[in-house]
């Protein structure tokens, strides 16, 4: 550990100890009479107002993806990375349309997971199972991305970098991961909710300082943009192609406008059907808290746009660019930039912010996936009479298993572009969109048409993503592929395939008058406010 800066290291460790204390202490926060209940462990008592929901959803949405993966893509390829900005702009109006309906119907019926709703709406256990499996699967690479982000910061700090032993090298990561796993197990959703206050304070602080201070060190925004424009237009001697694009091109193939738009739209549609984001949503006390948050959360997106620009700052700073090139890992662009530009104490604050910013969502994601497993696989298929206590215990263990599944993704998949981990999760979770979101409005789609549509989208998307190659990786190298002559986000083309199959089969099944299955929801329940529907004890979960 020869290159470790003592000041930076001390601050990061102090922050880590602080959030660990909060994580363990959170089990006492807003304490309920019976904590061994899924509404408590998994949804924090379903009593969060606008303020906490804002922090919690912000903690869900702005992750290592934002701080490490997006700037890394911008650094390596230029303008295409800004699809993430367009995506976070679109996500809110899209969610604004359907999320309050999901909140209301879930409140009335006591649904804990999106798959609970699907089961109630379509009366189909198979369809509900497909939701649960997809949610758990899609969450894992997303958590893996958080680990890659923590790893990037630790490696720039020089922690563990001097040894070649894989286990010793990743020991700090494993320790961080283990502590996270234990306090999630004990405190449930209360832990990330409480820690997200610390996280967001640190993040706002370092991002605002970074975007005002770093340009003054680099000769102003004019120089940064000018340098980037020249850099991406230059021909890379290795590939004989330009380094990247400075604005999306209007061609058919490459970093095009269409690729940009499909990546953004696909990610935006995917965001609010992720189980962990739905977990954060259902934890809100009032319908109005959801709507209000859709106009308050874009404040975070302004940050995202500024953070993406850190990629250009890293390009324009010769020292950072040389460090990244030497390490051969674009993920390190932002950590190296901070290390070079900030005094070591402030670098410590920024690094702590990124690490905590990865741990909070990892906790929420594993809780969301664990709830899916417990409610829609364990109780549904194995132990229908499970007590609330047993359900909570199962979720606690499932949250550990999901985290270790994520560790496998982090180790096995190439992380030249960690953003692909998130986009891979997106390809999968998008396949639940027709069932879940169309289901909030209409029962027109037939339950047995949605299953084959989902399956086709999953198979097509997985194979297409597997087949993408790059000079450094033979598989899983990209998230866009050429379809019908255009470069498109695979998640988007898979979703189109899924929807087309679902529509065609629905028409056939309806013509054949195949039974539609029971629907336990009523139209007015989709707009219910919490006031006229006192939170009922969910059947099967309820203590009553």
């Amino acid at each position: 550990m020869s290159h470790v800066n003592t000041t930076t290291f001390t601050i990061v460790v102090a922050a880590f100890i602080l959030i660990t204390g909060i994580g363990f202490g959170a089990s006492r926060w807003r304490r309920a009479s019976d904590m061994m209940h899924l509404n408590e462990w998994g949804l924090g008592g379903r009593g969060f107002g606008t303020f906490i929901t804002w922090f919690l959803l912000g903690g869900d949405l702005y992750t290592a993806y934002t701080f490490i993966a997006v700037p890394a893509l911008v650094y390596a390829s230029g303008s295409i990375g800004f699809y993430a900005v367009s995506y976070t702009i679109m996500a809110y109006p899209i969610a604004f349309i359907f999320l309050p309906r999901l909140w209301s119907v879930s409140r009335v019926h006591g649904y804990v997971t999106p798959a609970d709703f699907v089961k109630g709406r379509y009366g189909s256990r198979g369809l509900s199972l497909s939701m649960a499996v997809t949610g758990i699967l899609a969450t894992m690479p997303y958590i893996a991305l958080q680990l890659v982000g923590i790893e990037a910061v630790l490696s720039v700090m020089g922690v563990g970098a001097t040894t070649t032993n894989t286990y010793l090298k990743d020991l700090p990561l494993f320790i961080a991961f283990l502590v996270l796993a234990i306090y999630t197990y004990l405190s449930g959703l209360r832990a990330p909710a409480a820690i997200s206050f610390v996280k967001d304070t640190l993040i706002y602080l370092f991002v605002i300082v970074a975007v005002f201070y770093i340009p003054t060190r680099l000769g102003g925004w004019g120089h940064i943009f000018g340098f980037a424009q020249t850099h991406y237009a230059a021909i890379n001697p290795a590939t004989k192609k330009p380094n990247g694009t400075f604005i999306p091109t209007s061609k058919k193939v490459g970093s095009t406008e269409i690729d940009f738009a499909t990546l953004a739209l696909g990610s935006a549609l995917a965001l609010f059907v992720y189980p962990h984001v739905i977990t954060g949503t259902l934890a809100a006390k009032r319908r109005a808290a959801i709507k209000r948050n859709m106009s308050l959360l874009p404040a975070y997106s302004v940050l995202l746009a500024l953070i993406a620009l850190l990629g250009y700052m890293a390009v324009a700073d010769p020292v950072t660019a040389a460090n990244v090139k030497k390490a051969g890992n674009t993920q390190l662009a932002v950590p190296y930039l901070f290390q070079h530009m900030f005094p070591s104490w402030f670098a410590g604050i920024a690094f702590a912010g990124i690490i905590i910013g990865a741990m909070v969502p990892a906790a929420i994601m594993s809780i969301g996936a664990a709830n899916l497993f417990t409610r829609n696989i364990f109780v549904e298929f194995f132990k229908p009479d499970a007590s609330p206590h047993l359900q909570t215990r199962t979720s606690q263990w499932a949250s550990l298993v999901v985290k270790f599944g994520a560790l496998l993704f982090a180790v096995e998949l190439p992380h030249t572009f960690s953003i692909n981990l998130q986009l891979l999760g997106g390809i999968w979770i998008l396949q639940t969109f027709p069932t879940l979101v169309a289901g909030l409005y209409t029962r027109w789609f037939h339950r047995w048409a949605l299953v084959p549509g989902w399956l086709a989208g999953m198979i097509f998307g997985t194979i297409a993503a597997y087949k993408t190659a790059s000079p450094t990786a033979s598989h899983w190298a990209a998230s866009s592929d050429i379809v019908w002559g255009f470069t498109l986000y695979i998640g988007f083309s898979a979703l189109v395939l899924n929807a087309v199959i679902s529509v065609i089969l629905t028409l056939i099944l309806r013509a054949a008058k195949v039974p539609e299955g029971p629907d336990e929801t009523l139209p007015q329940q989709y707009t219910a406010e919490s006031e006229d529907t006192p939170a009922p004890a969910p059947a099967g979960v309820g203590a009553a």
């Binding site: 009335v108 406008e257 006229d532 099967g540």
Partner: protein, 87 residues
């Protein structure tokens, strides 16, 4: 779900008159505003250009930065308009 515990308000109240039918203009405005916030960055050619530069920012980057607070404000206005719909 076994017995679905519905509140009296949810089950006994007659289906409300569609807010769409009683406030057509307001509903249209809401729809247009929400669609505009999505289309505004989805249709990339609208802003995919280096010029006009705003300060040091090429237009593409300026637009993405400024659209964000705009969406926040528009969605806030929509929330207010929807409150009126419920009456």
């Amino acid at each position: 779900m076994a017995e679905s515990p519905e509140s009296p308000a949810a089950t006994q109240a007659p289906p409300p008159v569609s807010p769409l039918a009683s406030h057509p203009v307001r509903s249209l405005v809401i729809a247009v505003l929400v669609i505009a916030t999505i289309a505004g960055t989805l249709i990339v050619p609208i802003y995919d250009s280096l010029t006009p530069r705003v300060g040091d920012f090429p237009f593409f980057y300026f637009y993405l930065l400024i659209f964000m607070p705009a969406v926040a404000i528009v969605l806030w206005i929509v929330t207010l308009l929807q409150k009126g719909l419920a009456k």
